[in-house]
Amino acid sequence: MRKILVTSRYRHWLCVLLFLCVPRLVHADDLVIGMSAAFSGSSAALGIELYRGSMSYIAHVNSTGGINGRKLVIKAYDDRYDPISAVENTITLIERDRVFLLFDYVGTPTVTRVLPLLKRYSAQSVSLFFPYTGAQPQREPPYDAFVFNLRASYRQETAGLVEHFVQIGRKRIAVLYQADAYGRSGWDGVRRALKKYALEMAGEATYRRGATSAQSFREQVDILRHSNPDVVVVIGAYAASAAFIRDAREANWDVPIANLSFVGSVQMLQLLRESSQAQGKDYTTNLINAQVVPSYEDTTFSAVQQYRDLMDRYDPRPPADLVGEAYQPLHYSFVSFEGFLNAKLLVEILRRTGTTADKAAVKATVEKLGGYDIGIGTVVSFGPDKHQGLDTVYYTTVQGDHFIPISDWQRWQR
């Protein structure tokens, strides 16, 4: 609330009052969940789209009677993909806002730093649900007890990528990674996967978190190209990835470049298309993107149909107090689809927990959840030792303006 007052100008007073009074009015019996994510900065699209995807389903649930009669409300804060802000936001959410649980966090360096807090607040049984990261720390002791993941891990994504590349003879794999815990997770995943084939990483380079698409990646391109790899795996966010791909292609290096799910595929493609148009050159060939949810284009899945339907119907706005007018929301994206699935599973869990249940009961409910069909062709199940719902990795490539599933890896055979 203070943030709203601070960021608002005098002439916006009326809007702010309306905004406060009508849609965000929190009733005593509302179920409030907390979110800290990047709503500004070079990874802003990740937080915003994840929020919009989740909100499309939550809006639908709230408008159809809520969860056992209670409305679900997301209390969101911007951490700008900065670990310290994420820690501060989490403390605020737990101590001041007294949220029921934490939800839809974005990023490895942020979540990794928040994990010890969950242990600190373990007496209050605040669990983190479905963070948008495939990093290992929240999937392993001692912090796995406080976190429930839906998506497959980076290890699974990187292992899958490496496996496919090795099978088609692309054994020299180089890695460009963000110089932080996220980058390190992906780097570690690739390294572990290569080890299985007794292979070494061909080369590696880093970039600083927060890099923008305007930045030059020529140095990284030169370093990696010097190691003469068959393929480059990028562990990055969309702005940096797009900049690297652009500079590699500008240097006439058409090596296949693979990205992880976290990158924000649609945002990356959007940036590449913009610079493609500016330079009159196609940057979108030989791109492989791993995804942890199926394509939002594949309407054979009921969840995809529902997602598109609800996105069309509610078209949720990003939180006005966190995001300026300048942001152009994506119609559909892998990120918002993941947000939609996160919300759908959470609502199911909360429904099953019951109205009178406390926070501790939620954890018990999840761990008993088995064989729930979320609508993407695979069932979701959890257990006391299984805090990750999905294990499937989907591989996509760019065709035209869209990501389509890779049906034939042989095209990159060597």
């Binding site: 290992q136 390190r184 997770s185």
Partner: protein
């Protein structure tokens, strides 16, 4: 304004002094800072590396690279920490903070199992670092390296030295200002004194010196050495003025005396016969005489007159001593001689009588040498008597030049009742006499050699037979040539006679 020389020197000294102080303090404090900061950095690096090592044991054992990375990332925010990297048991760097890649220099760096290893390392394009390596679980789990940038130390030293030097410079400026004011307080009165003394040097003291009042004021106002100096200048100036006035008075007196002496000399000379030929109607003889007075009045004299139609008497004399007493004594002698020569016929008798006259009341103890001769014009007979004077040379017809025989008398005016003897020789036509005073033979050249009788005799020999004017001119020229610019310190008197029978 022209810089005072005193201030210029002071400024040079101040600049030198501050230069030395600034350099030494900079070096010293820079070195001290470097030592302390380096030590501090080393201990800071050690503490940080140990803390990372302690907190990442489990993660390293689990090969949890992402969590280790999350831990090391936090340490980058600490001031001076430039990089952190963690090596696992297999020697693989499993977490680091380098962008875009690990510098190759660091791949060779190794830690100690039991202690933290600190080493200085240079990384191309990054700079100089202190690398602190801490073992994790005595190296079994790996090592944690922390890199501290030495540039931070350099910046700290630079800013400290800049600060110090700024302070020094401010103190320097203040010192220069103070020195300027102090030196001015000294140099202004000094300059005033100098200007005054310079003016004094070119002053002729005919009018009073200007600016004396200012110096007097200075002497009164300044109670220091400057004041004393001014006071002594003032008293010196007054003494100088006084002595110059004295000098002027003395000089005036001397000039007066000198002009009086000149008049006395003119009078003295005027009592000698100066017109030649003296007796144009007499063809029996030819006579010429000169006197070349020295600077001071002297006592030489000559004289001649016709006693009667047949007899020509002549004399030459030299009073002992110089100056006014000698000239007065000479005037007396010459006057008495005139009287005595008329009174007696014989030359010895004349000298004896003249001697007695001069001895009477001669308290001053002065004396005079006199040669006296009488030439009988009809016969050429020459009677003469000498009173201690240089013997005249006889210029004989066959070319022989020799002094006359001495008559053996002493100088006149020494004692009374002395007897003089006379001698007689005969002059033939064309023969003559050359009379002179010791001013001729005792004329000196620059090396104090005397002209001597020998040179005089040679000189007379060369011109024997010539007219008296020619003889004298020759002799004087020879003397002048000999003296060659040396000062004449006695009267030079000559008299020459040539007997020409009718």
């Amino acid at each position: 304004m022209k810089m005072s020389k005193l201030f210029y020197k002071t400024l040079v000294i101040v600049v030198l002094l501050f230069g030395i102080i600034a350099t030494t303090t900079s070096v010293l404090s820079g070195w001290n800072l470097y030592r302390h900061l380096t030590a501090q950095y080393r201990s800071k690096g050690t503490a940080l590396a140990k803390s990372i090592a302690d907190s990442s044991v489990e993660m390293l054992l689990n090969s949890d690279a992402a969590t280790v990375q999350a831990i090391v990332d936090q340490f980058l925010d600490i001031e001076g920490v430039s990089y952190v990297f963690v090596v696992d048991a297999q020697g693989v760097i499993i977490a680091h903070t380098f962008v875009p890649r690990i510098p190759t220099e660091l791949l060779q760096i190794h830690g100690n199992k039991h202690t933290t290893a600190i080493q200085d390392i240079h990384i191309n394009s990054m700079g100089d670092f202190i690398d602190v390596a801490a073992p994790v679980l005595v190296g079994v789990a790996g090592y944690v390296h922390i890199g501290l940038n030495k540039e931070t130390i350099r910046v700290a030293i630079r800013s400290a030295i800049i600060g110090q030097q700024s302070l020094m410079f401010a103190i320097f400026l203040i010192s220069v200002l103070v020195a300027y004011l102090l030196v001015n307080r000294v140099s202004l009165p000094l300059n005033q004194l100098t200007a005054h003394v310079k003016q004094l040097a070119s002053h002729d003291f005919s009018t009073p010196v200007t600016g004396q009042a200012d110096i007097a004021q200075l002497a009164q106002n300044s109670k220091d050495e400057i004041g004393e100096l001014a006071a002594s200048f003032l008293s010196m100036e007054r003494a100088l003025q006084h002595s110059i006035e004295n000098l002027k008075a003395t000089t005036a007196a001397k000039e007066r005396i000198e002009s009086e002496l000149k008049i006395a000399r003119d009078i003295q000379m005027s009592i000698l016969p100066r017109i030649f030929p003296p007796f144009p109607k007499r063809s029996e003889f030819d006579l010429y005489a000169t006197i070349e007075p020295a600077r001071e009045v002297g006592g030489d004299f000559y004289d001649f007159f016709l006693i009667d139609d047949d007899r020509l008497c002549f004399t030459i004399g030299d009073v002992s001593g110089k100056g006014v007493p000698a000239s007065l004594f000479m005037a007396v002698t010459k006057t008495l001689w005139r009287v005595t020569a008329n009174k007696y016929a014989r030359p010895d008798r004349v000298l004896a009588d003249l001697n007695n006259e001069l001895c009477r009341d001669n308290d001053s103890g002065m004396f005079v040498t006199v040669f006296y001769g009488i030439l009988h014009l009809s016969t050429g007979e020459l009677e003469y008597s000498n009173g201690g004077h240089n013997l005249p040379y006889l210029l004989s017809r066959h070319g022989k030049v020799q002094p006359l025989e001495n008559t053996g008398g002493m100088a006149l005016g020494v004692m009374e009742e002395v007897t003089y003897r006379a001698k007689t020789i005969a002059l033939r036509a064309g023969e003559g006499l050359f009379l002179y005073t010791d001013g001729v033979t005792e004329a000196m050249d620059i090396a104090d050699n005397l002209f001597s009788e020998l040179r005089l005799q040679e000189c007379l020999q060369r011109v024997n037979g010539a007219a008296p004017t020619e003889v004298i001119r020759n002799a004087l020229e020879a003397v002048k040539r000999f003296a060659a610019g040396a000062e004449q310190n006695d009267d030079i008197t000559t008299l020459a006679i040539r007997y020409l029978r009718q």
